[in-house]
């Protein structure tokens, strides 16, 4: 049974030129303890999907969905207050750029205490006991230790600007797992980190997903770095999920031409024989949300496009993957030279 089940999630944004549909009918399911990676060009709506899952309220954004189930509870039938409570308890979100998402004017100590679960006011004996034993600090230190920070006293007493990027990222992870969430959402967690720090952060997240059965949805464009980290991959293009499937299926036999082009670029970049050589790349540009094509959104850049591509393709269920294409690529098309 799926932990999170979203069907036909749509995100619209009000602009001065009317309402634009940015995320168009995205369906996601995730099972406990699994890791799903979302990849795609910048501006394809990956971050908006994350914000929609968190239901972050902004005045100019409209969310709608046909189904939104978390742990078999239908969130669409609840009031917004109850919904926010359930989401806050079960889902944690780590945004892009850890340094910017921490409050620069507060010490790390204060920020960690803020997210730790509060003790109810009527349990005042527990509260007094905790005050004497300094439990708050002990819990914070334990959290930091679990996220791989050893010199806790320096970290707790410093401001975000005094820490490096990895340390900030680890503090963010510690804060996110403080409420023991069932789902962890990560927006570009390893970009701009150094080589060893990337490995540390990925190892830490892997530990959480294996030990605590936390499901992780991770946005990353560096698909080479998270290849063995994620169990499933979903690729987005112009607000739609164009292909989704298990790692083996997607990297061996991609069906959608866009996925194939991304994987081919990634492989060519990683080929040591290709040093100082030009790589064949996809031409054309990402469509504008104001003038979205009627048919297949990838049609203008696709070299296999035919007349039927003027109609919007529906999601086809394959054996280990789902794709949105009229003419899926055959097995082994990734490695053939044409």
């Amino acid at each position: 049974m799926a932990l999170l089940d979203i069907r036909n999630l749509t995100v619209k944004i009000k602009t001065s030129e009317g309402i634009l549909t940015i995320v168009d009918k995205v369906s996601l399911t995730i099972n406990p303890g699994k890791i799903l990676a979302l990849a795609g060009a910048s501006g394809s709506g990956k971050s908006l999907v994350m914000q929609a899952i968190m239901m972050l309220r902004r005045d100019n954004v409209i969310y709608s969905a046909d189904r939104f189930k978390l742990d078999d509870k239908d969130l669409l039938k609840l009031s917004s207050h109850q919904r926010r409570k359930i989401i806050g308890e079960n889902i944690s979100f780590i945004m892009q750029e850890p340094k910017r998402s921490l409050d620069p004017s507060l010490k790390i100590k204060t920020q960690i205490y803020e997210v730790m679960p509060k003790i109810k006011w009527y349990r005042f004996f527990t509260r007094i006991k905790n005050l004497i034993k300094n439990t708050k600090r002990q819990t914070a230190i334990a959290l930091l230790h679990r996220s791989g920070i050893k010199d806790h006293s320096r970290i707790l007493n410093s401001y975000p600007s005094q820490l490096s990027d990895v340390e900030c990222q680890k503090v963010m992870i510690a804060m996110a797992v403080a409420s023991e969430p069932k789902i962890l959402l990560l927006d570009e967690p390893i970009v701009n980190l150094e080589i060893a720090s990337r490995f540390q952060v990925l190892k830490l997240l892997d530990k959480y997903s294996k030990n605590d059965e936390t499901s992780i949805i991770i946005i990353s464009n560096d698909i080479a770095s998270i290849y063995n980290f994620a169990d499933e991959f979903a690729f987005m293009y112009a607000g739609q999920i164009v292909e989704r499937g298990t790692r083996e299926q997607i990297f061996k036999n991609p069906r959608h031409p866009y996925t194939a082009s991304l994987i081919r670029s990634m492989m060519e970049m990683n080929n040591p024989d290709n040093a100082k050589k030009f790589i064949p790349v996809l031409t054309g540009k990402h469509p504008d949300y104001k003038h979205m094509p009627i048919g297949c959104r990838f049609g203008a850049r696709c070299r296999y496009a035919k007349r039927r591509c003027n109609n919007m393709p529906e999601i086809t269920m394959g054996k280990n993957s789902q794709y949105r294409c009229h003419f899926p690529l055959p097995d082994g098309a990734l490695y053939s030279d044409d």
């Binding site: 910048s42 701009n192 080589i195 698909i223 080479a224 994987i263 670029s265 990683n270 040093a275 790349v281």
Partner: protein, 266 residues
């Protein structure tokens, strides 16, 4: 003295420490860069790699002239920074990491690209406009982009505009601090192709800091490995990435090719 005809940049005995009060300086002398010496020939490209806090950004900022080194000399074509400021400003251009904050969002692209020309040259207006459009052409941008604001552009286009701003004075060297990662594989390959084309057609050298070794392998001839402010290894890219004997480099490569990373044979 290092001879000046062939060398593009030579750094000798470069030390840097954060400017701080005399009190801290007396008790804690922690240099960020310690005695860095290397030289780069004409037409060669360099990638600087290293762990966190190894001083990569400080080194590239010192070469760009953004920070003044505490000790040591950097020679650009055999001349120091003080002796020929104009030459350095025209031939060594920097590209910054964050493409959104690098561009002034209140100016149109054409104005952004004009500023270096206004400061460093005395061109007439039509010459300037001609140069701007030819540079936009060089980085694969359409002419229509010149009248737009940075907020109307996509990330890849913003990056190209910062490249265009660096290229507009026909420099010899482009310095880029961590600026090619964080793109999707297609765009990354596009930018790498563009840099390779500039290297081949315009004979422009690039000096980059990166944590993506595949980009370093793709676009640079030489690699400089830094660790805690000291040069660990300096040499041919292929030699270092394929068969390095140094312990620190090996650890770096092992961390890079970790268990989560895509391997070609799997």
């Amino acid at each position: 003295m290092i001879s000046s005809t062939e060398t593009l940049i030579s750094v000798s005995g470069l030390c840097y420490r954060n400017p701080s009060s005399w009190f801290t300086r007396m008790f804690r002398s922690d240099f960020i860069l310690k005695n860095i010496t290397f030289s780069l020939n004409d037409g060669e490209s360099l990638a600087i790699i290293g762990e966190e806090r190894s001083g990569k950004s400080e080194l590239i900022s010192a070469i760009a002239g953004l920070i003044t080194p505490t000790k040591g000399i950097i020679l650009y074509n055999g001349q120091t920074y003080e002796s020929n400021h104009q030459m350095r400003a025209q031939n060594f251009r920097m590209i910054f990491q964050d493409q959104e904050t690098a561009l002034n969002r209140k100016l149109r692209v054409i104005d952004i690209l004009q500023i270096p020309l206004l400061i460093n040259t005395d061109m007439a207006e039509n010459e300037r406009v001609e140069r701007i459009y030819s540079t936009l052409n060089l980085v694969d941008l359409p002419d229509s982009i010149a009248t737009r604001y940075p907020s109307e552009l996509s990330y890849g286009q913003m990056k190209r505009v910062s490249f265009a701003r660096a290229l507009i004075l026909n420099p010899k060297v482009i310095l880029a601090n961590k600026s090619i990662s964080s793109f999707d594989p297609n765009l990354r390959a596009h930018i790498c192709n563009m840099i390779l084309r500039l290297q081949k057609e315009r004979k422009i050298s690039t000096i980059i800091t990166t944590s993506d070794l595949e980009i370093a392998r793709k676009i640079s001839d030489k690699i400089l490995v830094l660790c805690k402010g000291e040069v660990v290894e300096f040499g041919d890219t292929r030699k270092i990435l394929n068969s390095s004997q140094n312990e620190i480099t090996q650890r770096l490569l092992r961390n890079y090719n970790n268990e989560y990373r895509f391997k070609r044979d799997s």
